[in-house]
């Protein structure tokens, strides 16, 4: 014991660490409550006509750049100067990109106008970003924007062809730019189910099922245990799947039958509203494995 100097520090001082932690917790809790109150009062307007604050926009934009920089780091770009590849990329751009992004001298389609955040004109990023970044964003999409992941739709060749074309975009003349009007996606650079049939294999085995289910938008209509989504009630909930006896009320529930159903629902149950989503055998098996692994 130290000798008593006739002075005992106050209760608050003796426990200053404890009070510091308690104070920090209280401030954090208060902040959370204020956040919840703003959310529940409806003061945060989700309308696409509202804009982000400049600071929010800066944060999101910086976040995108740092994320892409880190994640695209080990992607090796192939040679992108081949004329045929660039031409292929032009078809891809016209079939899938120009609707929302437009181009200089070419107005975007209506759905590309009212979006928040706005799909950017691609000439600037095409000029400034390394090919690996462009590939990464095209293949994986950007969450919380309207940018979808294209890697389950387009072959690797088509993804790189698109990047090859983007690299040419800033140097196109006005005459060349106005010729980029949209093409129907069915006729050119179409979604290639054969080329993307085994895309899930590029992901870790334990996350494949969930990723594949999301990449075919299953959770847009079904509640699925293990997939975060809109909790939709359009199709039946896919919970406790291994205990279910029938698929679609007619087909005994086995993994093979589930694969059959996913690949071609109307062949199993004519008149069903479950659409044929162009799921490959390999991807249907990933989905079935995921559902049959539910507890």
């Amino acid at each position: 014991m130290a000798p008593n100097r006739g002075h005992t520090p106050g209760f608050l001082l003796r426990h200053k660490l404890l009070f510091g932690v308690l104070g920090a917790c209280a401030i954090l809790l208060l902040g959370m409550l204020v956040g919840v109150a703003i959310l529940l009062s409806g003061a945060f307007n989700t309308a696409a006509t509202e804009q982000h604050s400049a600071f929010t926009h800066f944060l999101l934009d910086a976040g995108l750049r740092y994320s892409v920089n880190a994640n695209a780091d080990d992607i090796e770009a192939p040679a992108l100067t081949d004329a045929a590849l660039i031409d292929r990329g032009r078809s891809c751009f016209r079939a899938h990109c120009v609707h929302c992004h437009g181009a200089p001298a070419l107005a975007r389609q209506p759905h590309g106008l009212g979006m928040m955040p706005i799909p950017n004109d691609l000439t600037e990023s095409a000029r400034d970003w390394p090919p690996a970044w462009l590939y990464y964003v095209t293949a994986k999409g950007v969450r919380m924007t309207g940018m979808p992941a294209w890697e389950f739709r387009l072959s690797d060749t088509d993804l790189w062809a698109t990047v090859a074309f983007l690299k040419q975009l800033p140097s196109l003349s006005r005459a060349e730019l106005v010729e980029l009007a949209p093409l129907p996606p069915q006729t050119s650079c179409r979604s290639d189910d054969a080329a993307t049939a085994r895309r899930a294999e590029s992901y870790d085995e334990d996350e494949r099922g969930e990723i594949v289910l999301r990449q075919y938008a299953c959770h847009a209509c079904h509640q699925i245990e293990g997939v975060v989504g809109p909790d939709s009630s359009v199709g039946p909930a896919l919970v406790d799947w291994p205990t279910r006896r029938y698929i679609a009320g007619t087909l005994p529930n086995t993994p093979d039958n589930l694969v059959r159903w996913i690949i071609d629902p109307a062949a199993v149950s004519p008149g069903t509203l479950m659409p044929d989503l162009g799921v490959s055998d390999a991807h249907a098996r990933e989905m079935a494995d995921f559902l049959f692994a539910q507890e």
Binding site: L40, V234, T243, R244
Partner: protein, 123 residues
Amino acid sequence: MPNRAARLSCAITIVIALCGCARSGRNELSVPGGDAGRGRAALIALECGACHRIPGIPGARGTVGPPLDGFRERVYIAGRHPNVPDRLVEWIRDAPSVDPATAMPDLDVSESEGRDIAAYLYR
């Protein structure tokens, strides 16, 4: 501070009340002439729980048909028919006549029983 607990519970009440407001987008499905109480009795008597999981029905943990929880929220019956009272009653009364390939049997349910059961599922 003696009323701290009172203030806290007040704040929690407000938050819960606000949560309640946010959920007012609920649909208004109801079955004319259907009685949920009688529907519950009919579900038990007809042993619907042998094939379906049905909330509030003792022992209804069947896995042959799909679970019937949240049926009011469901957009379709059997993956093809719009989930509206009359179609649901029709389906409950005689499913195979609506969809010959279904594993759901015709249980000889009367019109009024069908309405009561639908009322229970929509409650």
